[in-house]
């Protein structure tokens, strides 16, 4: 039976917006899952909640704050605005190279082809005017990379809505932390002016409590992955990305609670997601391969190789401790921004990246090291030799370098990717 591509076709022709597509797509997936696998419905619920709250925000009388890079989402939510994390759009579209390609091609009229696919996709969606909702404000940061530094301010100008930019310090130290705290105070003033309301600290405390729950659970899920065999599939690492947008909503905690329960059950039963048992533990040294997350299933199936952790870096998030102390809370927010995935490892000095990868090898004990290098992430490529030399010297593990485009699936076919991975397993890992 031919695949039903009506939704994709409607996006391609410009008749359907991206957010409508995301909503309708997840609705269809949930319908099918209700029939075939109702026990796993929880894996989709968070997507359902996220896309619908964005699409319906204006109908629900809420303002939409688009954001890029690490910004204080907890504050946006405390002002009763709906945060829209730009990265979620390309990540959601990336499994379909034709759809992603439409927006990437649109963006390449304005930015070089070497710009990161994430940036190109959300810029292209704006160029094509296909978000389907209008941003009321735009908040962005000077990280993670040169691509975003170009694209975020350009998008702010295109949107022509109130905007706020955070300047992330390059190094992580006390001065940088207080610098971000000061900017957070400026941001609160910006939000107060934008919404016409003062920040209600009681509401802020609620968002902080939710965020704490999310990151405590995320830490526990990460810890489960240290177990041998690793109880959770590599694919589930992809879902961590949602927490950037949703950590301060209870729904994110609910998802992680289910993930934790599942992982604990797998440990109890001694089951691995690898059908023939766990033979290898893989560390991915860069971002997720969103355009082909099935590569992780494939490694599990073909080589018993489970991805235990990635250097995208969701392990233990920052926790608010003294919620009545505004300055202390803003310091936590600053640390969250500094330690946000893609930022803490890759956007600062290479020392941070070494620290993160070293921690993965110490704590998760992988025996396979793969640098699935997203080509848009040039600054991680430029650190890769330092990182892989460290892994070789300290852990005696050689690394596979494979260039991929984490978003634009046209760059390499699935067969090319699995072919290269397979050769590596056959000729190096299982030699």
């Amino acid at each position: 039976m031919a695949k039903d591509t009506r939704l994709e076709d409607a996006v391609m022709s410009g008749e359907l917006s991206v957010f409508d597509f995301c909503c309708e797509k997840v609705e269809g997936q949930m319908e099918r899952m209700k029939e075939k696998n109702p026990d796993l419905l929880w894996t989709l619920q968070i997507q359902y909640d996220m896309w619908h709250q964005v699409r319906d925000a204006h109908a629900n009388g809420k303002k939409l704050v688009f954001f890029g890079g690490p910004v204080p989402v907890d504050i946006i939510v405390a002002f009763d605005c709906v945060p829209v994390y730009l990265d979620t759009v390309p990540i959601r579209l990336s499994p379909n190279p034709v759809l992603t390609g439409k927006f990437i091609d649109a963006a390449e009229k304005y930015v070089p082809p070497t710009t990161c696919g994430l940036c190109k996709t959300y810029l292209g969606t704006l160029v094509e005017d296909q978000y389907g909702v209008e941003a009321d404000a735009f908040v962005y940061s000077s990280v993670p990379c040169d691509s975003s530094r170009v694209v975020y301010p350009n998008m702010a100008r295109m949107m022509n809505v109130p905007s706020f930019g955070f300047d992330q310090p390059f190094r992580r130290d006390e001065r940088g932390l207080e610098y971000l705290v000061d900017q957070t105070e400026q941001f609160v003033a910006f939000m107060e002016e934008f919404t016409g309301h003062k920040l209600d600290w009681d509401v802020m405390k609620e968002t902080m409590k939710n965020a704490n729950r999310t990151y405590e659970l995320q830490g526990k899920c990460a810890d489960l992955r240290k177990h041998k065999p690793c109880p959770l599939p590599g694919r589930m690492l992809v879902m961590n990305g949602t927490s950037n947008a949703m950590s301060c909503y209870p729904e994110m905690g609910n998802l992680l609670e289910k993930e934790l329960e599942t992982g604990e059950m797998m440990i109890e039963l001694g089951i691995s997601p690898c059908p023939d048992g766990e033979k290898h533990r893989v560390a991915l040294l860069q971002n997720m391969l969103w355009s082909f997350s099935g590569a992780m299933d494939w490694m599990e199936r073909e080589y018993g190789a489970i991805t235990v952790m990635d250097a995208f870096g969701y392990q233990h998030g920052e926790i608010y401790e003294h919620m009545d102390d505004r300055h202390d809370c803003f310091r936590t927010i600053a640390r969250k921004m500094e330690n946000s995935p893609m930022i803490h490892g890759a956007a600062g000095p290479t020392e941070n990246y070494i620290y993160l990868v070293d921690k993965i090898f110490t704590e998760y004990e992988p025996d396979v090291s793969i640098f699935l290098g997203h080509i848009g992430c040039k600054h991680t490529w430029a650190s890769a030799k330092i990182i892989t030399d460290m892994i070789q010297d300290k852990y005696g593990i050689p690394s596979l370098y494979l260039d991929v485009d984490g978003i634009d699936g046209r760059y390499k076919t699935h067969d090319e990717i699995t072919g290269a991975l397979g050769q590596y397993f056959d000729t190096v890992v299982n030699k």
Binding site: N154, T350, A382
Partner: protein, 376 residues
């Protein structure tokens, strides 16, 4: 004084050798947010690193991968191969490519126990008072480290003297750049870039002496009358005058630029507040418009390019984008329409550090010049 060496763009190391021969330190620096006045005031020779003439970069490629900008790889190649005999590198976080050039140079140094001086300061990407305060504190850290390295103490008086010296160089360079406004300038774009490059690895005193000699003789130079179009060049770090020569050989004449190795660092003199000399230095470096690494003054940069193009009566702009340079790569989104609104045609070209595509560039330049040249 013979000023001919102003037109020799190669990295020679001659001035560096002489300086270090006196037992003094010389440091390389990357990007435009390291205040050279501070180094100079501490009797450290600042040498802006570049990759001029780097035709291949095997070590740079190995460390940074070929997914990185070839200019940054070229600088790393020169550093690792010993082309620069310096005591270390100071940098700010310009773009991620230059930051990684620094990281790899430092890593190799540490790995091999060489023990050179490496220091990095953070340079904000916004220009407000909060950002200025942060930057001043970063500069204070830099000063402390450089005082240790040089054994000298920085005072306001020393800093003011250095500022005066660099302001003199900026003023003389302004006079050089003014020559390009003439109907028939006595200096080509290739020569103007070569002169600016000389400031990278000569002491400011030598540079000033050369500029003075050149300006004294400028009136005796033969005006350039055989060119068909006045051009401006904008874009990524360009430290190879030969690139401009290819285009000028086809009938263009570069009379203006927005290049960080060209006129950009010389466009303003530094105003000094006697009560806050370091603050003056910080304000100057943070607010001067050099490249699109900043987040909040990009429109100003674009307006500056457009106004300069008008002021120098250019017939067209050549916009060169280094492969993997996202900063300049994406700047065209608003700059192009702004230039087009001003009636200024643009030729966009992609390039690498080494001049690999000269033939193709020449063909495209010739076509562009034919398109924009004005009939007398």
């Amino acid at each position: 004084m013979d000023y001919q060496k102003l037109f020799e763009p190669e990295v020679t190391g001659e001035a560096i050798k002489a300086w270090r021969g006196q037992g003094k330190k010389a440091l390389g620096f990357i990007c435009c947010h390291v205040p050279v006045e501070i180094l100079h005031a501490l009797e450290i020779m600042p040498v802006r690193l570049r990759a001029t003439g780097c035709a291949e970069s095997p070590d740079g490629d190995a460390w940074m991968s070929t997914f990185s900008c070839s200019y940054a790889r070229g600088m790393l190649q020169y550093w690792l191969s010993g082309k620069y005999a310096l005591d270390g590198i100071v940098t700010s976080d310009g773009c991620m490519m230059s930051a990684r050039c620094f990281d790899n140079a430092k890593h190799v140094d540490e790995k091999n126990n060489i023990g050179k001086f490496f220091f990095q300061i953070g340079a904000p990407r916004k220009t407000g008072s909060l950002e200025l305060r942060y930057y001043i504190n970063e500069l204070k850290d830099l000063i402390e480290k450089l005082e240790e390295l040089s054994g000298n103490k920085l005072t306001d008086e020393k800093l003011k003297a250095s500022i005066a010296k660099y302001n003199e160089a900026r003023e003389l360079m302004r006079q050089v750049l003014e020559l390009r406004k003439a109907e028939n300038p006595v200096i080509s774009g290739e020569d103007a870039l070569a002169i600016a490059l000389k400031s990278c690895d000569y002491t400011v005193e030598e540079f000033i002496a050369l500029l003075k000699a050149f300006l004294a003789d400028a009136k005796n130079r033969v005006p350039i009358t055989d060119k068909r179009a006045r051009l401006m060049i904008v874009g990524s770090a360009l430290d190879n005058p030969g690139y401009l020569k290819v285009i000028e050989d086809k009938g263009g004449l570069f009379v203006a630029d927005a290049l960080c190795y060209g006129s950009r660092p010389f466009n303003h003199v530094m105003d000094v507040d006697e009560k806050d000399v370091l603050g003056s230095v910080a304000k100057y470096y943070l607010t001067r418009i050099v490249c699109p690494r900043m987040m909040d003054n990009r429109e100003e940069l674009q307006k500056w390019v457009t106004e300069t193009a008008k002021e120098y009566r250019v017939d067209g702009v050549v916009y060169e984008k280094m492969q993997y340079c996202e900063c300049w790569g994406g700047e065209s989104m608003f700059l192009e329409p702004m230039l087009k609104d001003a009636g200024i045609p643009i030729l966009t070209v992609e390039r690498e550090e080494h001049l690999a595509n000269a033939g193709q560039l020449a063909i495209r330049a010739e076509a562009f010049i034919e398109m924009i040249e004005k009939e007398d």
